[in-house]
């Protein structure tokens, strides 16, 4: 392992090298062992304070970060949008500076605005970890996805990965695209033309609107959540038509290779992007993703928190 980690912040995967991504994955390998022990705690961040600053609601990611920090022995404060002074008109900058004045070492931020973590990182000395910003990036999700693929398939390079669904508004899709292409996977984006614009082909991926032609070659199918709240803008004519064209039904799943992995970042709309039985089936690694998310987030907190020390 020759790559060194020199980053205070983790804002996105676009700026990471393949070496840096692999370093996180290898660090996560070590932390994954911790989760299987009787005592699931290490003192790596003892005495450090982590603030989970979630301006946009989230349960899964916030809980995962919280547990990761607890296992690293950090002290934790959770701040949600409703509880923060943002609702009283305080600016993000002022909120951040106040958190820093409390000597928070690590700020984990989830925000509806793309770029908000970078905005913070440029203004505070604490480490800033992006836990999802608008439609921009969700780097720890991208990392846990490639970690899970690597764990099951032993490699990333040369694999065919299909990402299906609402790509345009998906931060998960962007972080996956950056990580997977850097590590040598062939990525195909699948979904309606309104949610998978051709513009994405400039980033070294293939765009398809025909799921059935993509499934037979796929080594991994990553199904993104269809966000009901986006439908007001008429990006597609309705869930019925979406399922007809892009739902992973049992019938369509027969096209998959037997060892093809089925992934989903959650929360799942059972019966929409994926048939309920498939989500719980042998090819599904959806719960592995959750377990691995913990190890990956421990690795990220350890690497960035260590730099800030």
């Amino acid at each position: 392992m020759t790559t060194r980690w020199n980053r205070k912040d983790l804002l996105g995967l676009r700026e990471l090298s393949a070496g840096e991504i692999n370093l996180v994955l290898e660090t996560a390998d070590a932390f994954k062992q911790v989760g299987t022990r009787e005592i699931k705690k290490v003192p790596a961040l003892r005495g450090k304070t982590l603030v989970n600053f979630f301006v946009e609601p989230s349960t899964r990611t916030r809980t995962s970060f919280e547990l990761a920090a607890l296992r690293l022995s950090a002290d934790i404060i959770n701040i949600s949008a409703e509880a923060s002074s943002l609702t009283k008109g305080e600016t993000l900058k002022d909120t951040a500076r106040n958190l820093e004045a409390l000597h928070a070492d690590i700020l984990v931020i989830r925000h509806s605005s793309a770029g908000a973590p970078q905005f913070l990182a440029e203004r505070v000395s604490s480490s800033v970890i992006n836990a999802g910003d608008g439609a921009h990036e969700h780097p720890t999700q991208g990392l846990l996805d490639v970690y899970t693929i690597r764990e099951r398939r032993g490699r990333i390079e040369g694999l065919n990965v299909a990402i299906v669904g609402d790509i345009l508004f998906s931060r998960v899709a962007r972080s996956n695209i950056f990580a997977l292409t850097k590590l040598g996977a062939r990525v195909t984006l699948v979904g309606p033309s309104t949610l998978v614009p051709r513009e994405f082909e400039k980033f070294g991926v293939t765009v398809s609107h025909d799921l059935e032609s993509v499934l037979p070659q796929a080594d991994v199918v990553n199904l993104l959540r269809i966000q009901h709240e986006r439908q007001r803008n008429e990006y597609f004519p309705g869930l019925g038509e979406y399922i007809r064209l892009f739902g992973l039904t049992r019938e369509r799943a027969k096209l998959l290779k037997p060892d093809c992995l089925i992934m989903h970042p959650g929360p799942i709309n059972r019966g929409v992007e994926i048939d309920s039985e498939l989500a719980d089936g042998a090819q599904s690694v959806i719960l592995d993703q959750v377990t691995n998310g913990l190890a990956v987030r421990m690795a990220v907190l350890y690497l960035c928190g260590g730099i800030a020390a």
């Binding site: 905005f119 508004f169 980033f203």
Partner: protein, 450 residues
């Protein structure tokens, strides 16, 4: 405008020539390159100002006290420059800018006349608010501030503002700038009505449905960064609408801050057919592309958004061939605390009065060699004066002595600490530019000198 008669009431004593001679206030600008496109003049010579008006050099002998001498060797002596698109924020937003500070910024940028947009609070949609702005300008501004009135009440795009009353109160144009009337029928009636009262119509071209919540150019960068896209078609659809309405109503419509190659093509084709349509360009749309948004810095957030290199080339071509006849700043001051927020939550706009001339000279005259300095002067004087029927933009004998001295080759660095504007929201801090105004004279008085 600063009214000379109000400030210095005419003396009541005597009417004899001796008294008149003693009161004469003369300035002579020597050895400059006088560029006065209105009169087809471009030559090295002296320019005489007597009692706030351009005078014939022969009058110098009748001035008994020695005139103020200004050495303009190596400089261009131009009619006072005009910027027809600025936001001075008064009334209602005086923490961003005031008419006084905006006028100081204009003077420092070489402008003697600015046209202020009506999106104040209250909006300039009534004769009383327009009168307030004019009074405020007369009392506090060091340059001529000419208000534009609203097209619709409260800029809401639903009912017509009292356009004839606005005309009577002295607006030089109507516009809903910052907003865009979406109802084509209402816009048609506004243009027809404006024709009756002789007011030009300026339009901020933005189709609300196509643009949605877009904050940056829709393209590679919006896709990469996950920021909501603002497609060029959202501008072009309204430019096309305006071309159709200008033809239908037989009245001029001027399209503000054109940003896309498609808009340039539409305006070029329509003008070739004789349609009364025109367009203007802001310096940021020539100086920057949407690649600037990579760091999510709201200093690069403006409306319309920064676009691609291809759009820049089309804008430059449009300026070179006369399709786009007006240069302006869209000076849009915002306080730091308002602008320094999440990108999608930040207000649109940057200040421009103090950097615009340098950017335009640097880009259009020096770097791209798209136009001559003479044409640039014309685009800041004759063109806006013609568009808005202004009594300005010339050095004709007897004209009001608004004069700008330019050094087209001076190299300087943008330093926001030196800005006169109340706000500092510019992406050009630290830029090295070539060309700027070195002296600004309004009605014979120097209001800025470097």
């Amino acid at each position: 405008m600063p009214s000379q008669s109000r400030r210095n009431p005419a003396p009541r004593v005597g009417s004899g020539s001796l008294v008149r001679c003693l009161l004469m206030n003369a300035t002579i600008i020597r050895n400059g390159r006088i560029i006065d496109p209105a009169n087809g003049r471009d030559e090295v010579g002296d320019l005489l100002i007597v009692d706030a008006a351009i005078a014939d050099l022969s009058q110098l002998s009748s001035v008994n006290s020695p005139p103020n001498e200004i050495d303009a060797r190596g400089l261009i002596v131009a009619p006072g420059l005009i910027d027809i698109h600025v936001h001075l924020r008064e009334p209602g937003f005086a923490w961003k800018e005031t008419i006084a500070t905006g006028a100081l910024a204009a003077a420092a940028g070489g402008f003697t006349t600015v046209v202020c947009m009506p999106n104040t609070s209250p909006a300039a949609d009534s004769a009383s608010t327009v009168t307030w702005i004019k009074d405020r300008a007369r009392d506090t501004a060091c340059v001529h501030v000419l208000p534009a009135g609203a097209i619709s009440k409260n800029l809401a795009g639903e009912e017509l503002a009292p356009i004839a009353s606005l005309a009577h109160s002295g607006v030089v144009a109507i516009t809903d700038d910052g907003h865009c009337i979406q109802n084509h029928e209402l816009m048609r009636r506004a243009v027809e009505y404006a024709r009756m009262v002789g007011l030009p119509v300026l339009d901020h071209c933005q189709d609300y449905h196509l643009v949605g919540n877009g904050v940056v150019n829709e393209g590679e960068w919006s896709t990469l960064l996950g920021l909501p896209g603002w497609p060029a078609a959202g501008e072009e659809a309204i430019v096309m609408r305006n071309i159709l309405l200008a033809e239908l109503c037989q009245h001029h419509i001027h399209c503000q801050h054109i940003s896309s190659a498609g808009s340039v093509r539409l305006i070029r084709e329509a003008r070739a057919r004789g349609v009364k349509i025109s367009g203007e360009v802001c310096p940021h749309h020539l100086a920057l592309t949407d690649a600037s948004i990579e760091t999510f810095d709201p200093k690069f957030k403006m409306n319309p958004p920064l676009r691609s290199e291809r759009d820049i080339e089309a804008l430059v071509d449009g300026i070179a061939d006369g399709t786009l006849s007006i240069l302006c700043s869209d000076h849009a001051p915002h306080a730091a605390f308002e602008k320094e927020v999440e990108f999608d939550k930040a207000p649109f706009g940057i200040i421009g009065l103090e950097t615009e001339l340098g950017l335009f000279i640097d880009i259009l005259v020096h770097k791209r060699r798209a136009i001559s300095i003479r044409r640039l002067v014309e685009m800041f004087t004759v063109e806006p004066a013609r568009l808005l029927n202004l009594d300005a933009g010339t050095l004709s004998l007897g004209a009001k002595a608004d004069v700008t001295l330019l050094d087209p080759d001076m190299e300087w660095t943008v330093d926001t600490n030196l800005f006169r504007s109340l706000s500092h929201n510019t992406p050009f801090s630290g830029w090295k530019l070539r060309g700027r105004a070195v002296r600004t004279i309004v009605a014979g008085e120097t209001v800025f000198a470097l």
